[in-house]
Symmetry: D3
Subunit: 293 residues, 6 copies
């Protein structure tokens, strides 16, 4: 169950409206790595989890915080949009060049669709979608996904910080940056804990039967490009992070195997297939045809 | 530049056609964590990279291999679909119960749209989409994304392994499992190398000015649910993975701040706003109205 | 701010697993009119609202409940999927016809992607998307949208009720039906209250200047099809619901106005435009050409 | 069957081209609540309807009109785009600040993809999609959806009216506003008629067996937030709009029920599950690990 | 303007309901190459066209017919769904294996969402989308797109024909096949006519200044794979269809040019860039790190 | 198998950065008719093809080239974005009007999401999607689709050419224009060759049994609009391009057939159906109701 309190975790008011920045801020609300994504992702991971205890409590404990971040950003965006211009005539743009810039830089749907309100979309107006959520049931994979989400998210907030000089907005971004610092650390710690406790390990899934894997190529770096520097990396020699092998470097991919013959599905699917008794028509006919007119 | 050779990296032929499994295999071809995703992701990370050398060579070196995996899976799927039934009458289903199961378990568009061919879609027929790709320009974030992609991908291949008993299919899956083992290890190694070399560090981005972050809450676990076990995790006390702080545990979220007043945008957006001189109409009128009829 | 408690508003456990029904139940979790939609919709309407007080409190008060419904459904679906078969060989299907039906009727991604877990998608596997949310800033329009959402939602739950005979599932559906009954009534009451209080009225938006509307056609039913029965409805004569006009019935659309001349954009866009000095080539040439081969 | 006449229902020509406004106008052509949506929605409701007569005739009668509105808007947009600038160099922008505003405010695909033409997309370039259509087979639900669509649509047209001062554009918008006035009234009248005739009633669906609903909570307002003002609304006490109950107000949600135990799916799905014989490794090991480097 | 008549162009009733086939038939209603696509495509091409006369009349003349085809298919699908089973228990499936097949083969949303009705989606339930429409303003390009759409559409109808033995359904498909025959021929004739009249020509756009094109490679077949048979085709030697060149065959792609140096964007975007004064840390440190635990 | 070489087929560096143009260039990278589309389309057509030989070699031979074009465009876009401004304050915009234009004209996600990098999206930020790919298994249909793709693609590149005056960008566009000239010619030649060799013919599919088609309407132009000029086209009389018929012109659509009766699905789907014993309630009641308040 979820409960709501009419307070914000941190103050979320701009010094002044700025419709151009409002659009940019939509990215961390409704984008691929925005707050809706992490709120929903932690929720689904918790609901799908297979054991009670500290890992599930962790997911529940942070999930509700993220829904509160969704709220803070939505309310901030609505305030940034508060003075968005309605009038958009050329005369008005000519009189004030900044107006033209604002019109070009603002999300048009913020006014037309939402009446100067926030929306569950990214900074290009793409609606948030459920495919942004990862919840596989395997916690080492999923905590790695979470660490990635918090990294990408913090990166975007850091970039946004430099796109504005509004103190109120920057305060909120500072708060989000700090929480993302925490959450990056947290998921990395939790992933390490899963491994240390032997709950899960590398490679994910770690308990897939090893004899069913084509082990010859499990630790080979095979170089399909012509750059040679990758041979210098720690992924080209030495022990592997899963502690089960040694990296090797293969400078040229070995020859492959022949392609299987093309398929011959039911002829009632009308695919193009070899016609046994086609008369080999003269090339001249063909070439005449394609150049007619 | 890319070049193609009419060979496969590994044999990719089923022992016999199986249209039901063909649909399932689409997931690791055209799904969120399928081969198209990683091929494109490594490509965009390479094209957007900001320095030459081993990390970029690594991205180029593996990217082309993944396009070859796309090809192997597409060719395997076409073969699995080769004998997909066209006829779907109730009489035929009644005569052979397995036919009914096949009709229900097969991707309908494989026949109608592709004539028994593979398609750039997932196992539910959702088209692959560009938003599956992460390429932020920050390599520590992106390599973490890559590690996640390879974990989710190997997990899906492992699940698919148990959904079939076809030797040819399982051979290909064994090969893909091994390559995913390699690629998980590789990205984790590369991420560690970025940190060890000081190219990038935690938290991502590591060079955002620390004084611009709200440091009070940078290492606090704040518990927004009522489970208490999360306090036992390594994310609740002790040193943080970024080496810059100490985790603390906050059992109850502190009081927040009051919400800002609601916004008052331009009235020509026709949002619902307080009407100063509304006559407080009698409640009886309202309730009569809503219950009419 | 949102807070989570590790309880459910109502019991949400099936009598026995049923992976076929799990897929169907996804519709009211992650479909267009599922619980994610209403939870997010009430949230965005609250965050974008322009006045404090009972209407905003109403939105906040119900929004958090809906997130709890998301949770109940996700947990129910995970339990329904608990015994979903992994093995999907033809031999197994032949031995047990119900297995074939289960394989055909189950969401394939529930196993491959989520490891027998719920996902933010509908019953066809389409990801939930932000465009399902309506939050215009105009409360009469939005409460009508909410009433519609609760009607469509209750309708879907009622249909689902008859697709299962599991007592545990039906209990949860009975609970959801009751809450949808409440919520339908509530939004209709709230919409009526907005009108009774004069906060907003029909037509939405009610304060658009009346002289800027083409009033001649504001209350005309114009019949663009050849059915005559629509003339018998209350929308064809009598007073209009907005209390501002009289319906009239126009049996045949009046003649329209001529189309404007086609546009002539910049020739560097290479659209097909009239060529002033084209030689009218003989029809024979054309027809010869198209029948070549 | 549909027939086309080369006339427009109303004049649709701007006084002068305006590519910035053309983009905005796309919203009511190809957006969620644009003319394509209502045209298709009324069509599908008619095709799926279960009885002949006035309600179906109404759907047919208005559906074809809406396709004509699609046409009027497309033709208007093409004219607005007629002089859209092709050249977009910085020098040109520097010479004329309005040019820069135009370039920023125009849909880039209008030129690149459509050669200065209209497209079935919204004002942010999101393609129109079939999920905007509601056609459930239940007319009271669907007419409520229609009323909502006409309200949201009229609201958007009213907002657009103030974004331009072009007389030709405003004339068309005045016409559309009037038709939306009609259509709002019409659907509300038709919904009331369904109830008055006893064809359908609240709550939708009205003939779901009442004993299968958890009636205890069918008329309770349960407050999941901490605002108290919602208790003052007509939805918190008094008779309900469906005429079947009395609203009650529950200030605090009652305790819920315990969560069911987590699921234990087939281990071949490789979810993370409790490991019975894990050695409780020392916390120090974990914390050392996460802080390495 | 569009007008509707309550008749169908051709009879559209099945001999008996068949919910499995209903799902398949959705492909040619709401799929990429379904009737909605061509109806909308011809509409947008007409509305965006730049000259009156026979080509625009052709687009208008056929567009309205296609909307009538949408209607025929929607009505056919509703009839096919008329007896779709609601009850889906395992017991029922066990008693009747065909029921299981039907449940697996039917679109679940047809019942839950549409109450046994047609929907604007394809056979996998993906919503129809505006990006299926091509209307570039260049008629030779667009008529080629139209020819393709009619080819793909007829191919799908032909495949569907063999998936059913219902006489009523087959009659409708026979009619659609015939109309697609006409429309393929028509667009090919119209494309040829554009060329014969000199309105447009190959390559599209034909009036792009020839000196601005890198003519050296305008007629080269460059072979980026290792198959040699493509040299035998009419595209490898001889006159080109545009009548302006001679095909040549290049068996091996020539060497390319060096890649440009990687970009160095503003450091406030926090991309990973070369760090001038990084201490080359020992490889041992790295490898220790990645193998910890 | 695919191999990568760290070279570009043609030089791809702008004379100077231009973030506004970068966004526009995304269209031919990740748009419907961009390079990702053709690369993937030719790949899937090859993998799904049913015969070895020149046609499949052609698909393989060109597919890898297109992946190289993806790379060239991505690298060009990254360079165009290199100096994209981060700072976006109103003061800065006021000081430099071009900055405002740039901010409005640039893809916001290029900076926030990709750190000044290319992305697999179109010029409006819509992600590339798998539904852009056509691979039906029928080569005449598919080669027509390919010809269309190359026409639309070349048209877009030609338009883009005029939107910039940067020599480096124009050089790359000149190269792409030339390759599109080749590829248009090539697919038209290949389509003609399929027909000349009798492998496939018009109408597609050419071997569908002719007696199963409703031949009466196979060559009729039926005019559903009121323009008369379409009768003058080569599609209205004379021999048809498939060589199998004669076009005829039908000025008015003949009368259709009556619509079938509406469907009556299972009542547990709660659709609105005729109620046999409804008391015809007085119209006054209805109209009173709708005008209440």
């Amino acid at each position: 169950m979820f409960f709501h309190r009419q307070e914000l975790q941190f103050k979320a008011s701009p010094s002044k409206p700025d419709a151009v920045f409002a659009r940019r801020l939509q990215e961390v609300l409704g984008g691929q790595y925005g707050e809706i994504s992490v709120a929903m992702q932690y929720g689904f991971q918790a609901w799908n989890s297979h054991e009670p205890g500290k890992y599930r409590d962790l997911l529940y404990g942070i999930g509700a915080e993220e829904f509160g971040h969704v709220e803070m950003l939505a309310i901030m965006i609505a305030q940034l949009l508060e003075k968005a211009p309605v009038e958009q005539s050329e005369d008005a743009m000519r009189a004030d060049p900044v107006l033209g810039a604002v019109i070009g830089g603002t999300d048009v749907q913020a006014a037309i669709v939402a009446g100067a309100g926030a929306r569950p979309v990214d900074s290009n107006g793409n609606p948030w979608q459920g495919s942004y959520v990862t919840a596989s049931g395997n916690l080492l994979a999923d905590f790695t996904s979470n660490a990635n989400a918090e990294m990408q998210g913090r990166l975007q907030v850091a970039r946004l910080y430099h796109m504005t000089d509004d103190h109120g907005v920057r305060d909120l971004l500072s708060f989000l940056l700090a929480r993302d610092t925490m959450h990056q650390n947290q998921w990395i710690a939790a992933a390490a804990e899963l491994r240390a406790e032997g709950v899960e390990d590398l490679p994910v899934p770690s308990n897939f039967p090893i004899d069913k894997e084509e082990r010859d190529v499990s630790y080979q770096y095979i170089n399909f490009s012509d750059g040679a520097k990758a041979s210098e990396g720690s992924w080209a020699s030495g022990a592997t992070p899963d502690g089960k092998g040694e990296f090797t470097y293969v400078a040229e991919p070995p020859r492959g195997v022949p392609m299987p013959p093309p398929t011959q599905p039911d002829e009632r699917l009308y695919g193009t297939t070899p016609k046994p008794n086609i008369v080999e028509k003269a090339a001249g006919v063909i070439k005449d045809a394609v150049t007619s007119n």
